[in-house]
Amino acid sequence: MSARYRKILSVLAKRWLLGLVDARLGLVPSGRRREAFARQARLACEELGTSFIKIGQLISVRPDVFSSELVFELEKLRDRVPPMNYEVIREVITGEFGCPPEDLFSSFEKEAMASASIAQVHRAKLTGEARPAWGDPLPEGSDVVVKVIRPNVEETITADLEMARRFISRVKKTGLLRRVDVDSLLDQIEASLGREMDMRIEGRTAERFAFNFRRDEGIIIPRVVWKRTTKSVLTMEYIEGWPLSELASARKAGIDTHALALYGARAFMKQVLEHGLFHADLHHANLFATPDNRIAYLDFGIFDTLTAVERENVAHVLAALVYRDADRALKYSSGLGVKIRPDRIEKMRLELGRLMDRTLIGGSADEGPDMKHFGMGFMSLLKKYGVDIPVGYGLLVKSLVTVEGVSRGLYPDIDIIDTARPFVTRVLAGSLGDPARLKERIPAAVRAAVRELLV
């Protein structure tokens, strides 16, 4: 047994015991018990470093598999690690480009401006003009940020995942993990990490976002410097502003946080319902408020896509939330892959209706709909009835909840469902005008009109 394997086992055992103590040996109510173990799981990830922080972050976007308590606790994982020595970064850049940073940029700050477990970021200045795939060229001398993947991080993560596989295969023999397909989950995590560690994919996703938001002046996507980008290095435009985690400074500078909250929420609805490509990791550090009252999106490592048919189904599900129509929500969720056994539909419909009444109508005049409690309740309801939740569906619900949380941080009274209204109306009206659908509906409409005229 390797030293690393022993360390993993000892940290997991320690955190499990601490969780047991926090949960008063399991005597507290189940929700609090899950919260106690979720907190210890987060601390274990932080203690075990890079791979586990990354795995934890990926678990936090999988409400389809894990409990809401764990998902929202792991969302807090922030991997701030001490920056690596400049010489190491210089070596990576030289290895990627064949020449050192001083030959590639007119200036390169040796001190990192941010440092995480997978990569660290340095500020630099461009030597010549750079042309992104979309948008105006970046002129010579522009400020840029250079994100550099730490050396050997891929090997470390692969080795840790391998160890996790061995550990899980032992646990599986005990029968504890019967409900979860852990092997396929680990495969998905591995694939997701692989995507995150290829900076070219992140650059292309950023460009696609920039193209999709080309007519929205309120949104900024940093432009990519392709001639200074490789698999392990991503160079992007530097954006001046405040991360939403530092709102006090932004407010002091006169930023209209109310307008930003509304605009940000609408921008998310646009991603989901119009573009079919949405940012699935919208926490406070990935969003910036700029001095000219715009929102900048950063970090495009985790995203998801929706087809036109899926977008229409999502619009119907959102319309169901707007109207609090449980029937419609279940009907169109099935179009998104949520398959419910026919004999359970009626019971689920009743429970979902109650959940909607409880969470989507404010308890008092000051309270608006609460998407977080609705989302958590809905996921639990699906799990309770043994419904398999498609990955994308879970991610979408989770993203909606996160956007509500971020928007409420900016403007506490925001009604996230209400921001969806114009988009939902447009998508549904568009589907009404679909020639195939019109052809299908005309005979019934004519019959109804004739009946109306004759009676």
Binding site: G98, R131, T229, T425
Partner: protein, 126 residues
Amino acid sequence: MSNDFIRFLAAWALVHETADEGWKAAVSRGGEAGRGKGMEGGPEAFVDGLAAMVAEEKERLKEEIQKGTAHPASDSPADGGSMEEIRFEIGLIRARLETMETSLDKILKRLDEAGGRKAPSSSGEK
């Protein structure tokens, strides 16, 4: 016959008038709901919201016609959109070529360092 015809026109006028009043009311309700806190009141609210959006679009169209900038619905936006999409895809291909060029430059530099540089310079000397 003429009485029937007049009755028909009266019915037509009545239907038009009622529809017009209903439409105006829907636009007004939709506009109000947009400024309100939430969207309650079932599918009727959808029709009201849609009516308000159509009214907004109508005003925009009226303005465009007055300015002489209106285009037929099937004209430029879609075409412009697909042209932009093509430009973007070409931009992405160029981006891929730029990163590829960077990688090729790196390989050449490594070859130079490994002694490959001597070959072209020696051939130049010939």
